[in-house]
């Protein structure tokens, strides 16, 4: 029994400070990311999440040039862009995908340039990896309480706006007729999403953060029909994947090749992917017609 435990939890796991920080930060970020993800899907705004992440890349790379920690770059990008996007309208429309995709390509190209400057001029190595793939084991000092604070703020906002958000995702007219300030609500949600994407970019990087946003939510949607249960399930899946990912990444230090450890973001995304595939095994009651899948030719 002791032997098994120490095989699963490599020595030092429970006492290591970086592990503590990783577990705490990872948990709160996964919590908010999965919960916001359910609303994102409800409001058909997953493309907005993708765009926020790409623009976060710009913010993160820029932050390094300014000598600021990446979280603040992500947050700044997330809030500014989130607000701007709400003004521009964020519902997915087919005709928009191409245009937005091309603009985002330009943004990514610009990020490439900034990352190049980061590596050549400030000679901080691994900026690319930090921005794109996250730095969960490297969260330091003020980042941890900041992440906790932002998460608490985001969750509080969601709890406050829970019912109006649900109603306005069904029909904005219906919500407006009941006196809900739909525009203000939409803007608030975009800001929360901006902060959420920023936080998840911190732990799994900008190009993987859409998966942390949408993945647990998509799996939860296949498992339950109730709104609260969906959020709870998504949160549970997200946090479980993150903690297990941290554990595996820590253990992998001893796997081949010895001494370097596998990237934690790989484990987290891989586990979420597995969870999503497993959730597909459940037979749904009434099959939702996947109109999306049918109409979008590959």
């Amino acid at each position: 029994m002791g032997g098994t435990l120490s095989a699963v939890f490599e020595p030092g796991f429970f006492t290591s400070a970086p592990v503590h920080a990783a577990l705490l930060t990872g948990a709160v970020v996964a919590l908010i990311s999965s919960t916001v993800g359910v609303f994102t899907v409800l409001r058909s705004q997953s493309f907005a999440g993708h765009s926020l992440a790409d623009l976060g890349t710009l913010g993160g790379s820029g932050a390094f040039l300014l000598g600021v920690g990446p979280l603040w770059g992500f947050i700044a990008a997330g809030m500014v862009v989130g607000g701007a996007m709400d003004l521009a309208g964020t519902q997915r429309r087919n005709s928009r995908d191409v245009a937005t995709g091309i603009i985002l390509g330009a943004v990514l190209g610009l990020s490439a340039l900034l990352l190049y400057f980061d590596t050549t001029e400030s000679s901080t190595t691994g900026v690319t990896v930090t921005v794109l793939f996250g730095s969960l084991f490297a969260v330091s000092g003020y980042t941890v309480p900041a992440a906790v604070a932002f998460t608490a703020l985001g969750l509080a906002t969601l709890v406050l706006c829970y019912r109006p958000l649900l109603l306005s995702s069904v029909s904005t007219d219906l919500a407006a007729a009941r006196g809900i300030r739909v525009r203000l609500l939409g803007l608030t949600f975009m800001l929360v999403m901006g902060v959420t994407v920023a936080l998840s970019s911190l732990i799994v990087g900008t190009i993987l953060s859409p998966a942390l946003l949408i993945g647990p939510a998509a799996a939860a949607l296949r498992l339950t029909r109730r709104p609260l249960a969906a959020m709870g399930t998504a949160a549970a899946l997200g946090v479980a994947a993150t903690w297990l990912g941290v554990l595996l990444a820590y253990d992998s230090y001893h796997w081949k090749p010895v001494g370097s450890g596998w990237p934690v973001s790989f484990f987290i995304i891989g586990l979420i992917f597995i969870a999503y595939m497993l959730s597909g095994l459940r037979k749904p009651g009434r099959t939702p017609t996947t109109a999306d899948a049918a109409s979008e030719a590959v």
């Binding site: 899907v41 997953s46 493309f47 993708h50 997915r92 087919n94 995908d97 191409v98 245009a99 995709g101 091309i102 603009i103 390509g105 330009a106 943004v107 990514l108 190209g109 610009l110 490439a112 340039l113 990352l115 190049y116 590596t119 190595t125 691994g126 900026v127 690319t128 990896v129 794109l132 793939f133 190009i207 993987l208 859409p210 998966a211 946003l213 949408i214 993945g215 939510a217 998509a218 949607l221 090749p257 370097s260 450890g261 596998w262 990237p263 973001s265 790989f266 995304i269 891989g270 979420i272 992917f273 999503y276 597909g280 996947t290 999306d292 899948a293 979008e296 030719a297 590959v298």
Partner: protein, 262 residues
């Protein structure tokens, strides 16, 4: 910049520009933007894995791209396409990061595979790329008409006996081939821009396929040539120029279309 050691780059880049534009024309026609996002990232994982094992990276690229593309095709029929995209893109990139983390050149390799690398192509690569490109173009030429029909009028195509699934998978394989040739030069993240930008720009100012395809090819070639030259001179990443360039063509084309009421 026209030294012998750069010749491989110029030739390869020209080939991939042509292929990307041709395949990209159909990607835009079919509205398959998420495929264009996902498959190049599968290619990234393949290149990373191949460089780790030490086999020719094009082989690794090819296998992974193909496998990833087929996985995407199969999964997207069953689930929400936004979730499938995000997860598969994430998985592929995560795998690539994993493979690269085992090598010693982690950060620079990630960078060059994601954002492009001007140098580092050998004459062997040119031959392989040329062959892959020829295969791609040959297949496209063969299935041009059924592909056009099933892309624009899917139900009509089905009624005429054109098997939608087979066309889908074949098309996915083409995108995989295009990604295999292009990702080492342009980078996985900007491959999307190269595939989508020139055809989208061409579409905005033309009215039928032939001139649209020709214009797309011309724009893609121009983009790639300018990107290589600029990258060589400034040492800035080639992906930057590709991304900005494609966006500029697109915005320009849309502006012209608006002004001339096309």
């Amino acid at each position: 910049m026209f030294e012998p050691f750069m010749q491989a780059t110029w030739i390869t880049a020209s080939i991939i520009a042509v292929v990307a534009a041709l395949v990209g024309f159909f990607v835009v026609l079919r509205g398959a933007t998420f495929t264009a996002h996902a498959v190049p990232n599968a290619a990234f994982a393949g290149a990373a894995g191949a460089s780790l094992i030490g086999v020719s990276s094009l082989a690794g690229l090819g296998i992974f791209s193909l496998g990833g593309a087929l996985l995407i095709g199969l999964l997207s029929r069953r689930g929400r396409h936004d979730a499938v995209t995000a997860l598969i893109v994430g998985l592929m990139l995560g795998l690539g990061a994993l493979f690269l983390s085992w090598s010693t050149e982690y950060a620079p390799e990630i960078y060059s595979l994601l954002f492009g690398e001007v140098l580092g192509l050998s004459s062997n690569d040119v031959t392989t790329t040329a062959i892959l490109a020829l295969v791609c173009i040959a297949v496209l030429a063969c299935i041009y008409r059924p592909l056009m029909l099933s892309s624009t009028l899917p139900e009509v195509a089905e009624a005429r006996g054109i098997p939608a699934l087979r066309i889908d998978l074949l098309f996915l394989a083409l995108v995989a081939l295009a990604s295999t040739t292009a990702v080492p030069v342009v980078g996985a993240l900007l491959m999307f821009s190269l595939m989508i930008g020139p055809p989208a720009a061409a579409r905005a100012v033309t009215t039928h396929p032939a001139p649209a395809i020709c214009l797309a090819v011309v724009l893609a070639l121009a983009t790639v040539w300018i990107a290589i030259a600029a990258s060589y001179q400034t040492n800035w990443p080639i992906g930057f120029f590709v991304g900005i360039g494609c966006a500029l063509w697109y915005v320009l084309a849309r502006a012209i279309a608006k002004l001339c009421h096309l």
